[in-house]
C-alpha cells in the first residue's frame, strides 16, 4: 500500500482493469490520486471534444434529402446492374455512341443550307467591326473606284472620306492647299464601315510611309479617276464607277475562266415542243466568287419560252469561280444552252 503506483498501474486503472489495492492506494495517496485525476479529466475532456466535433461536422454536412439507406439501396442497385450489364466497358461504349450521335447531329444540323446562310449573315454582320476587309455589295456587280498619284509605294492605310452623291475633289493622303475649299468625297454608299483613322487612305492599305498609291488621276490607290482602291471611278473598290463593288472581270490574262461543276438540263417548253423548235440560246452571265450565276441576260434569243427555261436552268448551275491572284473574283461569261429534240 505504501508503494506508489507505477506507470503501468495507473494505465491499468485508466482502462478499467485496476486492482482493488491500486484503487485504494489512489484514493489514499494524494500524489497518485492527483495524477490519476488529471489523466482522467484530460481524457474525459478529450472525449467530450471529439464527440462535440463529430456531431457538429455530421450535422453540418448531412442534409437528409434522401434517407441514408435509400442512398445505399440505389447505389447497390446501380452496382448490381453494372455488374450484370458488363460494367464499365458497356457503359463506356454506350457513352461514346451517344456522344458521337450528338456530335453528328450537331454537324448535320449545322451544315444545312439555312444554317450556313444564317451563320454567314451573322458573320458578315460581325465584320462591321472592321476586323475584316469591308465586303463589296453583292447585289450590284458594278461600283468601285481607284486613283493614285503615280507614286512608287502602295497606298497607305487610312479612312475613307465621307460619302457624297457627286465627287468634286478626290481624296489625297497628303491634302494640298486649294483655292476653293471643297471637302474630298467619294461616291459610295454611306453604309460602308470605316476605320477610325485621322488621315485619309485606303482601309485595306498598309501602315507605313504616306503615299497616294501607284495609280493615276487623283485619289488614293492603284486605280485611276479619283476614287480609292484598285478600280476605275470615283467610288471605292476594285470595280468601276461610283459605289462600292468588286466589279466584274473578264476571263483572260491573269484571270482564270470559271469551270462548270454542276449542270442542270433545261426543260423544253410546251410550245417549243409542239412546234418542234430547236436551236441555241446564248446567255451572258456573271459567275460570282462563290461560283453561283447571277445577272443573266439573253444574248441570242430563241423564243417560244425557251429563253426563260434556259435562264431557269442556268441559274442552278454551279461553277468553280474564276481566280485572280489566288482569290475568287466575279467573272463575266457567255453560256450556250442547246435545245435539241431527240
Amino acid at each position: 500500500v505504501n508503494r506508489h503506483l507505477s506507470t503501468q498501474d495507473i494505465s491499468r486503472c485508466l482502462i478499467g482493469e485496476g486492482l482493488q489495492s491500486e484503487a485504494r492506494h489512489a484514493r489514499e495517496c494524494a500524489e497518485c490520486g492527483a495524477e490519476l485525476a488529471l489523466l482522467e479529466t484530460s481524457l474525459g475532456q478529450f472525449r467530450h471534444a471529439v464527440r462535440q466535433w463529430g456531431e457538429r461536422v455530421d450535422r453540418a454536412s448531412y442534409q437528409p434529402v434522401m434517407s441514408r439507406s435509400r442512398l445505399f439501396l440505389s447505389a447497390a442497385a446501380l452496382d448490381a446492374r453494372a455488374e450484370a450489364g458488363g460494367g464499365a466497358t458497356r457503359a463506356g461504349a454506350s457513352s461514346l455512341l451517344m456522344h458521337a450521335a450528338a456530335v453528328a447531329l450537331a454537324f448535320t444540323l449545322g451544315s444545312t443550307p439555312q444554317a450556313r446562310e444564317a451563320t454567314r449573315s451573322r458573320l458578315s454582320f460581325l465584320t462591321a467591326v472592321q476586323l475584316h476587309a469591308p465586303q463589296p455589295n453583292r447585289d450590284r456587280a458594278e461600283g468601285g473606284g481607284g486613283g493614285g498619284a503615280r507614286q512608287t509605294l502602295e497606298a497607305s492605310r487610312g479612312s475613307l472620306p465621307k460619302a457624297a452623291p457627286r465627287q468634286f475633289t478626290p481624296p489625297r493622303v497628303d491634302p494640298v492647299p486649294a483655292e476653293l475649299l471643297l471637302p474630298p468625297s467619294l461616291d459610295i454608299p454611306a453604309t460602308i464601315t470605316d476605320l477610325r483613322a485621322t488621315t485619309y487612305g485606303d482601309p485595306l492599305g498598309r501602315e507605313g510611309p504616306v503615299s497616294n498609291g501607284r495609280g493615276s488621276g487623283g485619289g488614293i490607290g492603284d486605280g485611276n479617276r479619283g476614287g480609292v482602291g484598285p478600280g476605275t471611278g470615283s467610288g471605292y473598290g476594285p470595280g468601276a464607277d461610283g459605289g462600292f463593288g468588286s466589279g466584274v472581270y473578264t476571263a483572260g490574262g491573269s484571270v482564270s475562266a470559271p469551270v462548270l461543276l454542276h449542270q442542270v438540263e433545261p426543260e423544253y417548253s410546251e410550245d417549243a415542243r409542239k412546234a418542234k423548235w430547236q436551236g441555241i440560246v446564248m446567255l451572258a452571265v456573271v459567275v460570282d466568287e462563290r461560283g453561283r450565276v447571277r445577272e443573266v441576260t439573253v444574248v441570242r434569243s430563241l423564243g417560244l419560252g425557251l429563253d426563260e427555261k434556259a435562264i431557269e436552268a442556268v441559274r442552278q448551275w454551279r461553277f468553280r469561280p474564276g481566280m485572280l491572284n489566288g482569290s475568287p473574283v466575279p467573272v463575266r461569261a457567255t453560256v450556250e444552252v442547246n435545245f435539241r429534240l431527240l
Binding site: 482502462i15 479529466t41 467530450h48
Partner: protein, 192 residues
C-alpha cells in the same frame, strides 16, 4: 466517468441485419454518428471521413448476408470502419502535402470545442490545452495505437470489443493502450 449507451446495451438493432430498407435505415441512423466520429477522429479529414463512413455502410449493406451474428452489429460496423481507416492510411501515405494541409485546418477545428458552462475561464483554458496536447499525441501515434486509443477513450469500448474490432488479442490491445497512455502522460507533463 459517464458511460455511453453502446450498441451492446441498445436493444434496437436486430442481430440479423434486416433486408428491408426501413430496418437498414434505422440501423444507419443509430450507428452513423458513432462510425463517423471514429473515422473522423482517426483521419481528421472531414470529406474523407464522410466518404469512408458512406463506404463503411455500403459495404455493410452489401455484405449483410455474411453477417453471422457472432458479434453485435456495432462491433461489426466498427470493424469495417477500422479496416477502411487502415486502408486509407496505407494509400494516403504518399499524399504528404494533403495530409499537412488537412491536419492544419481540421485539427484546429477539432480543438475548437466548448467545455462545460460551469467551468471557470481558467479551467476552460486548461482543458483546452489538455485536449490540444492529447490531439497532438493522437496525431503522432501509430495507426494501431490510435485506433485502440480512440476506441477505448472516445467510444468507451471494452477491451474485448476492441479486440474483436481490431482483430487483435486482448493482451495486444492492452499493450497498445499502455503505450498510447504513456505518450499522453509524457505530453501532459506528468512525470514520476
Amino acid at each position: 466517468m459517464e458511460r455511453t449507451l453502446t450498441s451492446e446495451l441498445a436493444p434496437v438493432a436486430d442481430p440479423v441485419v434486416a433486408d428491408s430498407c426501413d430496418n437498414f435505415d434505422s440501423l444507419a441512423r443509430i450507428h452513423w454518428p458513432r462510425v463517423f466520429r471514429f473515422i473522423l477522429a482517426s483521419i481528421r479529414d472531414k470529406d474523407a471521413a464522410e466518404n469512408l463512413t458512406q463506404d463503411c455502410f455500403f459495404r455493410a449493406y452489401r455484405a449483410r448476408d455474411q453477417f453471422r451474428g457472432a458479434s453485435s452489429i456495432g462491433t461489426w460496423l466498427m470493424r469495417i470502419a477500422a479496416n477502411l481507416v487502415r486502408d486509407h492510411e496505407a494509400s494516403g501515405r504518399v499524399n504528404f502535402w494533403r495530409r499537412m494541409r488537412r491536419t492544419a485546418v481540421d485539427a484546429k477545428e477539432a480543438c475548437d470545442w466548448i467545455p462545460d458552462r460551469k467551468m471557470s475561464p481558467e479551467d476552460a483554458a486548461v482543458a483546452h490545452e489538455q485536449v490540444e496536447a492529447i490531439w497532438s499525441v493522437v496525431a503522432n501515434l501509430s495507426e494501431r495505437q490510435r485506433t485502440v486509443f480512440l476506441l477505448r477513450f472516445v467510444e468507451d469500448m471494452e477491451l474485448m470489443e476492441i479486440a474483436a474490432v481490431t482483430g487483435m488479442k486482448e493482451g495486444t490491445v492492452k499493450v497498445h493502450l499502455f503505450r498510447a497512455l504513456r505518450a499522453v502522460r509524457a505530453e501532459l507533463g506528468v512525470t514520476k
